[in-house]
Amino acid sequence: MKKGIVFTVDVILAMIIATASIVAIMYYVSTPQLDTDKRLYLHGCDVLAVADLTGDLGDALGGDDTGLTALLESTDENVCINLEVFNSTGDEVLDKATCGAPTDYVQCKRSIVDDGDYYTGRARVWYR
């Protein structure tokens, strides 16, 4: 009789643990994993394009980064952005960031022509 009870408690414990594990796994599998990379990418491309089209990027290349700084600071507070510009030989000529160095980021690139010179712009974007 006692052996029977001990066996039942054992099985109950095993079943509870098994059920809890299965429930945890099923909930983990069905938890939404929102794909935010697309939005980050679009955000980076937007900022790079607007900086180019408004002339803020050209001004920054000329030494006046007031407009570019204002533009970067007016974007989403939850998002960090690092905007870099490289000349035709691949040397970095501009580097503006709203946060520290990223560990995991999404990047967008854009070809830029300013005063007849060719540049490549790169916006690296990540969540703060």
């Binding site: 109950i12 069905s30 939404p32 089209l53």
Partner: protein, 164 residues
């Protein structure tokens, strides 16, 4: 007697496990359904934002001419180039009927609020607006940045709907 009690306990426990599993399965399935719905709506709004900000629409002269013919419109776009908004297209866009715009944007049953704002972080200056904010259980927002007449502006499109 002992065997019977043992069996009854076992059957009850087994049934409890099976019912729990069914409940968890149903809850997970509904969870996934809601997520798929959320994901589809969010993705669609992203695509609409991209369509508006980076294209001129199809046909590209949809904003020109006299009376508006919705039948020839394949897609709406507000840009004269990538991320460069066109004031003429914006003027025509906000002059159109709200219900027609909702259909052309592919929003289905969702209400929308469209704004183009200058100085959005300081003293917001709404340059173009269509629709209004609604009190619904769900709202999705897409924010895009573009240039308008050489100035940076924020295009914001919010879609509102009530969860089923």
């Amino acid at each position: 007697m002992v065997f019977t009690l043992d069996m009854i306990v076992s059957v009850v426990f087994f049934m409890a496990i099976v019912l729990t599993m069914l409940w968890v399965w149903t809850a997970s399935y509904m969870h996934m359904e809601q997520y798929n719905d959320l994901s589809a709506r969010s993705s669609r709004l992203d695509d609409i934002g991209t369509m508006l900000v980076t294209t001129g629409g199809s046909p590209s002269d949809w904003h020109q001419g006299g009376p508006f013919n919705a039948d020839r419109i394949l897609a709406l776009g507000l840009a004269r180039g990538g991320n460069e908004l066109d004031p003429e297209r914006l003027d025509r866009f906000v002059s159109l009927d709200y219900e027609l715009l909702r259909r052309l944007l592919g929003l289905g049953s969702e209400d929308f609020h469209f704004t183009v704002t200058r100085d959005w972080e300081g003293t917001p200056d709404i340059l173009y607006e269509k629709g209004s904010a609604k009190a619904t259980s769900e709202v999705y927002v897409v924010r895009r940045f573009a240039a308008l007449d050489g100035e940076a502006v924020e295009l914001r499109l919010a879609a509102y709907y009530d969860k089923r």
